[in-house]
């Protein structure tokens, strides 16, 4: 790994200032960034740790919305959202393994937008709002394809705000070697709509399966989607599964998610 300067500010303002340096980069749990640095795929001059910023940690709920601060780790979400938003808590509790969950954060996961990451599926299904140090971005506009987001250089995810659904469920079809989902589907049921967020399937990254959302809005049962087909054209195809297999999984997992809600 190339060397870099390590800084650990205690406020968002200090972090933003430290990130002004051209090759500076934020560091949260490091569960994605450290392996990347080891492979020398990345060469920051300075890493700005966000984990020392007390303001960036914790969950709160008000007016039917749950706000999770950017540097909150997966284990904390799994424990603290368990009663008020069990679908999301279960998602967080299945990410990687216990050690990964004690370090990895929601902000890091959302900012990284790995095509197989779990949180983006929930953010899309729930039409969450991504809050940064400068603005608020709707999930639909935030995720721009594999590893690409609407974030500008030096912009930090400070929180993610989820409208809490009446019921929700995350179906993770695990790829046992990486422990990421091979494909994952988050189903969220609201009084007036249904959200279906899909990860690990498309070459364009996380997406909403809108046809299923519409069908489920009028009939929330696995039968409602039995006649639909997911096109395999844009699906990821690799040694773990073909495009057709992933397309099939999207439908099966959506059905299971609805049944489990």
């Amino acid at each position: 790994m190339y060397n870099f300067e390590f800084v650990k500010p205690s406020s968002v303002d200090e972090a933003v200032a430290a990130l002004k340096d051209e090759d500076a980069q934020p560091l949260s749990g490091g569960q994605t960034l450290i392996p990347t640095l080891k492979q020398r795929l990345n060469q920051p001059s300075r890493l700005v740790s966000l984990l020392g910023i007390a303001d960036l940690v914790g969950l709160s709920e008000s007016g039917g919305e749950m706000t999770i601060k950017g540097a909150t780790n997966h284990a904390t979400v799994a424990a603290e959202a368990a009663s008020s938003f069990p679908g999301l808590a279960a998602l967080a509790g299945k990410i990687g393994d216990p050690a990964v969950r004690n370090r990895g954060t929601i902000g890091g996961s959302i900012a990284n937008n790995d095509p197989s990451a779990c949180y983006p599926a929930a953010a899309m299904a729930c039409q969450a709002t991504i809050v940064t140090n400068t603005r608020e971005i709707a999930a639909d506009d935030f995720f721009e394809g594999m590893f690409a987001t609407a974030l500008d250089e030096g912009e930090i995810v400070t929180a993610v705000r989820f409208p809490v659904p009446e019921a929700s469920n995350y179906q993770k079809f695990e790829q046992p070697a990486s422990r990421f989902p091979l494909t994952g589907v988050f189903v969220a049921k609201y009084a007036d709509r249904v959200g279906v967020g899909v990860t690990g399937a498309s070459n364009d990254g996380v997406f909403r399966w809108k046809e299923a959302e519409e069908a489920l809005a009028s009939n929330f049962s696995p039968d409602a989607i039995s006649g639909l087909t997911v096109p395999a054209d844009d699906m990821i195809s690799d040694l773990h599964g073909s495009a057709e297999y992933r397309a099939h999984l999207v439908k099966v997992l959506t059905g299971r998610g609805v049944a489990a809600c």
């Binding site: 790994m1 190339y2 060397n3 870099f4 300067e5 390590f6 650990k8 560091l27 490091g30 569960q31 450290i34 392996p35 640095l37 080891k38 890493l47 740790s49 984990l51 284990a75 990687g96 393994d97 216990p98 050690a99 990964v100 004690n102 370090r103 422990r179």
Partner: protein, 160 residues
């Protein structure tokens, strides 16, 4: 830079660069080589230690991030008189190790599980060990050891 942390109850300091991993710091700077590095890619869990009471992979955390924290490694697990603690003894009794390379990480992961969940089921044990890979034992005896360490019935465990 100088980094200071409490390791197994004692305050310890050493030199670290920004890129120095906690695993390298413990092994090379502090001489605590019980923390093993199996993969260095966050997959195997051999490097598992506790930071402020929570299990982490020491190869996937910078030493600088552990500044001021309380770290426990496998060297801090034995009883005060030097005898093996309950989990370690159970690993010996139930042949939970062969080459022993994964064992420090397994013991650290197991103790973290038993702190949160003193009577885990077999499934819970296996789930908790998702991030700890053993290439020797086939896991059954590790699961048995953890069952035994938690005071539960062992013969009921694991289809073999």
């Amino acid at each position: 830079m100088k980094v200071t942390m409490t390791v197994n109850g004692k305050s310890m300091s050493g030199e670290a660069e920004g890129r120095t991993l906690l695993s390298s710091f413990l092994r090379e700077e502090l001489g605590l080589t019980g923390t093993h590095v199996g993969c260095d890619t966050s997959q195997c869990g051999a490097c598992t230690v506790h930071v402020d009471g929570r299990q982490v992979k020491a190869c996937t955390m910078f030493a600088a991030e552990a500044e001021g924290t309380d770290v426990t490694t496998i060297e801090g697990m034995a009883n005060a008189d030097g005898s093996l603690n309950t989990i370690q003894q159970a690993f010996q009794d139930y042949h939970g190790l062969q080459c022993g390379f994964c064992t420090p990480g397994m013991v650290m992961a197991a103790s973290s599980l038993l702190e949160q969940n003193p009577k885990p089921s077999e499934t819970e044990i296996r789930e908790h060990l998702h991030g700890n890979i053993c290439r020797c034992t086939g896991y059954h005896n590790i699961v048995k050891a953890i069952m035994a360490a938690s005071g539960q019935d062992v013969p009921a465990v694991a289809a073999e």
